[in-house]
């Protein structure tokens, strides 16, 4: 039976708590309250109520008819996390953690963000629950994600620019943790992915598993069986864990897709499981991109949401036991998939999700029409439109489908 993490927060060798002593008590307090909350029917009912009435769950399961026809392979389904309030799966976790923070009597939220989706989700729930919110964001990401920065400010959050390192998500996370060390008595740190010290990876999984639970139900209703393959993108990996977790003991192929950036054989990628080695980052033991001396290497991806040098410890574990296959997709492949879905289905995906889609398309082509592929469409692409404008010159007569025809 799949039963991780253990009481020490370990997923096999991975996970744990590697933090300054000051944070051990706040982590224990969160763990204790989380255990109570997850066993409390009132808490769960409130979480589900907010997901339904505020965020718009359940999100639909959408069949992609045009894409399926074009590829002439397996049927492709999309789990539409892009249709959540604030535009991504991040809100599921933010609602769960905000409810927990409220239960613990905390009125101030700290968050870190890369692409801005978690920052927006944190700022949104903070507004909803009447809490203060500080979001740490790398200066480089602030430039890349202007629109989301403005949204966070509109929602009443304070956005703190981080100037260390590459000025991206890794550095924002360091700064958020350092701030938390100083303010742990009255602030709740809302981590945006299945990363960080125990109990965060477990907690975020519990708040994201709603994706997979719903998808399983919906898929069985629609197809009368489970999908053959499920694909999700992996930066830290919260949408992927949320999607995979309820299927771990089923006969379903699970594929996590990392960002290969300019190629895994160049220094410009964020393919942590594919190319990383075991180490400690942000309080947990996992795979990470580092040099031989243990200094963390700055990752690269076109997607601000995927360029993280670590990965959730549960993904590291799932890779080590061979339950999930982790592959990678380049910027170029993700851009092509981004355009393809936009043109074929009228859905503009987040660039993160386009990574998963690129892999799903590749796999579907090798399968037959009795088989099915389910893709977690983790977010919508509104935030990425400006980034895409720099890479793509859209012409009316562009035939983006041509390269995919079977």
């Amino acid at each position: 039976m799949y039963n991780v993490p253990n009481e020490n927060g370990r997923f096999g060798d991975f996970g744990g708590k590697f933090v300054p002593e000051t944070l051990m008590l706040p982590l224990e307090e969160i763990e204790e309250e989380l255990t109570k909350a997850l066993a409390d029917e009132t808490f769960k009912a409130e979480y589900i109520r907010i997901l339904q009435q505020y965020s718009g769950r359940p999100t639909p399961l959408t069949f992609a008819p045009n894409l399926t026809k074009l590829l002439n392979g397996a049927k492709i389904y999309l789990k539409r996390e892009d249709l959540n309030h604030t535009g991504a799966h991040k809100i599921n976790n933010a609602i769960g953690q905000a409810l927990l923070a409220k239960r613990m009597g905390k009125k101030k939220i700290i968050a870190e963000t890369g692409a801005g989706q978690h920052g927006v989700a944190a700022a949104t729930v903070a507004a909803h629950f009447g809490m203060e919110c500080i979001v740490f964001m790398g200066e480089e990401d602030i430039k890349r994600q202007e629109l989301n920065v403005f949204r966070m400010k509109l929602l009443g959050a304070e956005v703190v620019p981080v100037y260390s390192g590459n000025r991206t998500l890794k550095d924002a996370t360091n700064e958020a943790i350092r701030y938390w060390v100083q303010h742990c008595d009255d602030h709740f740190y809302m981590i945006g992915s299945v990363v960080g010290p125990h109990p965060y990876p477990k907690m975020v999984r519990e708040f994201q598993r709603v994706i997979g639970d719903e998808a399983k139900r919906q898929f069985l209703e629609r197809e009368g069986k489970l999908p053959n393959v499920i694909v999700a993108c992996v930066g830290g990996g919260s949408n992927a864990i949320g999607m995979f977790y309820p299927f771990l003991e089923d006969d379903v192929q699970l594929v996590g897709v990392e960002a290969a950036g300019k190629g895994v054989d160049t220094p410009y990628h964020a393919a942590t499981i594919t190319k990383g080695t075991k180490g400690v980052i942000h309080g947990s033991l996992t795979y990470l991109l580092q040099d031989e001396y243990g200094q963390i290497i700055e990752p690269y991806s076109i997607s601000a949401g995927l360029d993280y040098p670590g990965v959730g410890p549960e993904h590291a574990y799932l890779a080590s036991i061979g339950r999930v296959r982790y592959e990678s997709v380049t910027d170029e492949e993700a851009i092509a998939a981004f355009q393809l879905l936009s043109r074929e289905e009228g859905i503009i995906p987040a660039i993160e999700s386009a990574h998963a889609l690129a892999k799903a398309v590749e796999l579907a082509k090798t399968m037959d029409d009795s088989q099915t592929v389910l893709v977690c469409l983790s977010g919508r692409g509104d935030k990425d439109v400006q980034t895409m404008m720099r890479y793509v010159h859209v012409k009316e007569d562009d035939d983006v489908a041509a390269m995919y025809r079977n």
Binding site: P20, T22, M24, N174, V181
Partner: protein, 276 residues
């Protein structure tokens, strides 16, 4: 239990922290010597790390400077015999984050530390629960792993204190390293409580940056760690330290500054100084 030579010391100790390789490996050795002459009883030698969760901006900047000079954990350990050659006699504690230790190899690191005469190891992101294997290696090689307690340690304090080796490092207040204008009013009470549980010397650090603070703390602890204030001074003297014509004068200024910070400590234990 592994012990440090300093455990025989009965008066409050001055424990400076500097970053290995900031501004250069050679100058680190000279800074250590200057600190010893200024009355340091022990030295914390920081290993620069790219992602230091327990450090504030001053030490982060120092680490970045040292990393640009290609400093590594192994090279930092190998600075210890260099310091000995130049006359540094006080115990030297290696202060490093856990990931560089993992990459060098835990066993290899302790073997190297033993071979190079390291007197203790402090790993700020390795809490008690995760420290078992490292603690064992420490015991095997006779190099104590220094434990930390924080104001938030509460129930954990007793367990941590009962396993403490060498000395027990008390984090003065919530927060990362850095200079602070004020220390919490509850600090003396916290130190008194820690001392009640501890069988080894109790040392306080994080945020201590003025002689007034040192004066206030000296009666409640067995030692004071001063890091960011000294590292900031090194940052200010950076250029002069690296210019041969100005180096001696800059080292002297650094030493005067260190002396002034710990003057209350040294006055308190002048009898100890003379007996050394």
């Amino acid at each position: 239990m592994t012990t440090l030579p300093l455990c025989t010391v009965t008066k409050p100790m001055f424990i400076p922290f500097i970053v290995a390789g900031d501004p250069s490996p050679d100058i680190t050795v000279e800074l250590a010597l200057a600190l010893q002459e200024a009355g340091a009883d022990m030295l914390e030698l920081g290993v620069p790390y790219s992602d230091p969760l327990a450090d504030g901006p001053i030490i982060q900047r120092a680490a970045a400077r040292a990393l640009r000079g290609q400093m590594t954990l192994q090279k930092a350990v190998e600075l210890v015999p260099e310091m000995r050659k130049k006359g540094v006699k006080i115990p030297i504690i290696i202060f490093t984050y856990y990931n560089p230790v993992l990459q060098l190899g835990k066993e290899h690191f302790f073997a190297l530390a033993q071979q190079n005469g390291v007197d203790g190891v402090l790993i700020p992101d390795l809490p008690f629960e995760e420290s078992g294997p490292i603690r064992q290696l420490g015991e095997k090689t006779g190099i104590p792993l220094i434990s930390l307690v924080a104001p938030t340690s509460k129930k954990r304090m007793e367990t941590i204190a009962s396993h403490a080796q060498g000395f027990l490092y008390c984090v003065s207040s919530l927060g990362v390293t850095g200079v602070r204008d004020t220390l919490p009013e509850t600090l003396n009470g916290f130190l008194t409580e820690v001392k009640r549980h501890s069988r080894v010397p109790v040392v306080v650090g994080f945020g201590i940056s003025t002689s007034e603070q040192v004066k206030m703390l000296k009666d409640y602890c067995d030692g004071v760690v001063i890091g960011s204030a000294l590292v900031q001074k090194i940052e200010q003297l950076n250029e002069r330290l690296q210019t041969p014509a100005n180096k001696e004068e800059a080292l002297a200024e650094f030493q005067r500054y260190a002396r002034s910070l710990v003057a209350p400590l040294k006055q308190a234990c002048s009898s100890h100084e003379s007996s050394k």
